[in-house]
């Protein structure tokens, strides 16, 4: 890692983090949930994600504070968010994210979403309190295969353990179609512990897959 620098994300990384969120949501497809579920085009959705990141909320995935990035020669090439669920706040990351989206996207988008929310119920995975949650991984294509994800995961685990000595588990959620990410997580010691599947295939108009895996890594 001689020319690589792993660091906490900051405000200047917002455009890369928004791209990270978009690419991770798309999971290798063209289905970008922040666009499809909220009736926004891709550019508008990206701008709204940038706005959400600017709010500097702590304790969920749409937070600069949660992201760690890797720089190569002064350019950010990888990012991954992580936070300990309901550690900094009592309010769950799900509700924080929900407040952020509702506040930023506005009434019309939420009304559009209202008609779709039932589709998501079956693949909605509850996050376990006091576990390290990882979400939104993106590595620029030309920097893949260099074990940058391992570095990001290890740093997240080490930092989380320094904050919370009793940390026992790391969880990550991944769409079934994202075999690349699943392999990387398996190589990092994660195992698939639960499968969530929606039988309603209409979901494929909005999301990359109708199946999601919960993957876990136990810590000693």
């Amino acid at each position: 890692m001689s020319s690589y620098i792993l660091r906490q994300a900051n405000n200047e990384d917002i455009p890369f983090l928004a791209k990270t969120i978009m690419e991770a949501e798309k999971s290798g497809t063209e289905k970008f949930s922040f666009s499809t579920l909220f009736n926004k085009n891709e550019k508008e959705a990206l701008q709204l994600i940038e706005q959400m990141l600017e709010e500097e909320i702590v304790g969920c995935e749409i937070s600069i504070n949660s992201f760690k990035v890797i720089e190569f020669d002064g350019k950010v090439v990888a990012a991954f968010a992580g936070w300990i669920e309901t550690f900094d706040t009592e309010i769950t990351s799900g509700l924080l994210k929900s407040n952020l989206i509702g506040y930023t996207f506005g009434k019309e988008s939420i009304h559009f979403f209202m008609g779709k929310s039932n589709l998501l119920k079956e693949i909605q995975i509850k996050r376990e309190p006091k576990t390290l949650q990882l979400e939104y991984l993106y590595v620029l294509p030309e920097y893949r295969g260099k074990k940058l994800t391992n570095e990001l995961i290890n740093k997240h685990i080490n930092d989380a353990r320094n904050l919370f000595l009793h940390l026992k588990k790391v969880q990550v959620q991944v769409f079934k179609n994202n075999s690349g990410a699943i392999k990387v997580y398996e190589n990092c010691g994660f195992k698939i512990t639960k499968v969530f599947k929606s039988k309603n295939e209409e979901i494929l108009d909005y999301l990359p897959s109708n199946e999601k895996y919960l993957m876990e890594k136990k810590l000693n």
Partner: protein, 82 residues
Amino acid sequence: MNRSEILEKIGIILTSVLGHDNFELQENLSAKDVDGWDSLTHMIIITEIEAKFEVRFKLKELNKLNNMGNLLDLVSNKLAEK
């Protein structure tokens, strides 16, 4: 509008968004006590409350909400500011 009128109106919104009224509408009710009040429906519930009372919440205010009592305080303050 007094507190119990606000509460009653919120109750109607909850019932309509969640599709049931299996909850005790009281001050210490929180999202986790109510079937189906999750991150998906929360967004809708809050948006409906804003529309019904014609108020707009700040993000900081939303992130401080722990229970129905907090929500009632917030709505009555917003109404008083109008």
